[in-house]
């Protein structure tokens, strides 16, 4: 329905085709721009930024989250602080990141990792707290070592929560990279989309949107599928 409306409303001139090009035009443009080396380069840059930022944010966030949940000492020190920072919109820190890192690749990675790390911390802490004390006791009563308690009780209890956290973190991470690219950049998909918008190149703009949507939905659904497979035991 939506797709059909997208195709025919502009064609019947009910909607201004300049503002909303018909779906078929957008798709045609999508494949055209995919062939352009400029776009391919931008995809490469953006992918690099997203992946690298994620690789920083997830292990650091998970580590801090586990520490906050497991150690009373760290929990009491950092928990209030984390909650405060978590509530602040991260985009207002963007100018500072530009001052420190410039407007290149490093700045995108740093900013995206920064805007993602807090949600990872929160989710990891929640995942640790989801582990039942009873289950730990059972494992200990059968002589499980600390490592075994970790791998046989903590990891399986936490896995579905962690996958969900991964999925949501990626949304934050992707958004972080896009905002940074659109705000100030010389490369990347976000920068291309911003400039297409400024130059009123609507088919290109929508083709870019389709590209990003496909990537985001693709990742999200893959993790969701994994989540479903790993949490068959959850009722």
């Amino acid at each position: 329905m939506v797709l059909a409306a997208w195709e025919w409303l502009p064609r019947w001139a009910i909607v201004n085709a300049e503002l909303l090009p018909p779906l078929s035009d957008v798709l045609a443009m999508f494949f055209t721009i995919l062939g352009r080396s400029q776009v391919q380069e931008a995809i490469g840059v953006t992918t690099g930024e997203v992946v690298l930022a994620f690789m920083f944010a997830v292990p650091i966030g998970a580590g801090v989250g586990v520490l906050v949940a497991e150690s009373e000492y760290f929990g009491q020190i950092f928990r209030p602080m984390l909650f405060y920072v978590f509530s602040i919109p991260k985009s207002i820190f963007l100018p500072m990141f530009i001052l420190v890192f410039g407007i290149g690749f490093e700045q995108k990675v740093a900013y995206a990792a920064f805007s993602t790390v807090f949600i990872v911390i929160m989710s990891a802490a929640a995942a640790v707290e989801s582990v039942k004390a009873d289950h730990v006791l059972v494992a200990r009563s059968y002589g499980a070592t600390r490592t075994q308690v970790l791998t046989r009780v903590y990891v399986p209890s936490m896995l579905p929560f962690l996958l969900e956290a991964l999925r949501i973190s990626m949304i934050f991470n992707f958004t972080g990279v896009m905002i940074a690219e659109m705000y100030a950049s010389r490369s990347g998909i976000g920068q291309l989309i911003a400039s297409w918008g400024e130059n009123f190149q609507m088919p290109q703009l929508f083709a870019g949107v389709v590209l990003l949507a496909a990537a985001a939905i693709g990742f999200n659904e893959t993790v969701r599928w994994l989540e479903a497979r790993c949490s068959a035991w959850r009722t």
């Binding site: 039942k132 009873d134 289950h135 006791l137 059972v138 494992a139 200990r140 009563s141 059968y142 002589g143 499980a144 075994q148 046989r152 009780v153 399986p156 209890s157 896995l159 068959a232 035991w233 959850r234 009722t235």
Partner: protein, 269 residues
């Protein structure tokens, strides 16, 4: 075969001694308002092969006492001997534990749950499977191995828990209110089933509950505990013959035993 023969010899030796000896045990924990005495001067012997039930009001420390027998907690003072040796850390060779409901790992199937204690000790896969299958049969759940805990009823879950507690063939089985969350009928059936399993396996059982009917029905001996600080205020020898039947619950002997325990608990409250 050699191992089995040795084992049964060992069992015979153990049978002469007490399976569990608790001597002058006291426990104090640190609460908000300083030291709180939880258990006070507890001494008890559980003979090998006996079925001993501990009853008492909630918060009297009966679960703590059981956890100490399992080596999961250390008492402030006193000693606990299990099969003649002190138990400071959990030792699944000597003691199996059956916990309250919902202690099964929900991400493992029934069979994998039963295998868990064996896999912790890295027993070979085939051996694990064989033992776990035998346990499933023993607790009356053949063919249910592939089910996840959420696909089992409350009673079935506790059967799996019992199987998990027995899978390493420890001489002692400690049970912490295993049927507390079950409805009355299932609870009676499970009690009966437990007696059948107990008589088939010759285990020593220490069973904690707050149900007096359950206590009298199951026990050779009932130990009655006072509210905090928990002390043993009565030891009731249950003289009913075995095997126990549901009909015995309607007898005078049963009623008198139950009444005696109730009076003790009521008085100190």
């Amino acid at each position: 075969m050699q191992r089995v023969a040795n084992l049964s010899e060992l069992r015979a030796k153990e049978a002469q001694a007490a399976a569990i000896e608790v001597a002058e045990l006291s426990h104090v924990y640190l609460g908000r308002e300083g030291k709180v005495p939880a258990l006070e001067d507890i001494s008890l012997d559980v003979g090998a092969g006996r079925f001993v039930v501990i009853v008492g009001p909630s918060g009297c420390g009966k679960t703590s006492l059981l956890m100490m027998m399992a080596g999961l907690r250390r008492p402030s003072s006193g000693t606990i001997l299990c099969a003649g040796r002190s138990i400071d850390v959990p030792d699944p060779d000597r003691v199996g534990v059956v916990f309250q409901e919902a202690s099964l790992f929900p991400w493992l199937t029934a069979l994998e749950n039963i295998e868990f204690p064996l896999s912790i000790r890295r027993a070979p896969r085939l051996e694990r499977r064989r033992r776990a299958d035998a346990m499933l049969d023993l607790v009356g759940l053949p063919g249910f191995g592939a089910r996840y805990p959420h696909e089992l009823s409350g009673g079935m879950k506790q059967r799996v828990s019992i199987a998990r507690g027995l899978v390493q063939d420890p001489p002692v089985l400690l049970m912490d209110e295993p049927f507390a969350a079950l409805d009355e009928q299932t609870r009676m059936t499970m009690g009966h089933e437990l007696l059948r399993i107990w008589s088939q396996t010759n285990k020593t059982v220490v069973f904690v509950t707050h149900s007096l009917t359950e206590a009298v029905y199951l026990a050779d001996e009932v130990l009655v505990m006072s509210p905090r600080p928990g002390r043993i205020i009565d030891r009731v020898e249950v003289t009913l013959p075995r095997p126990r039947t549901y009909e015995m619950m309607a007898t005078d002997v049963f009623g008198r035993l139950r009444e005696r325990i109730w009076q003790k608990i009521r008085k100190v409250n």
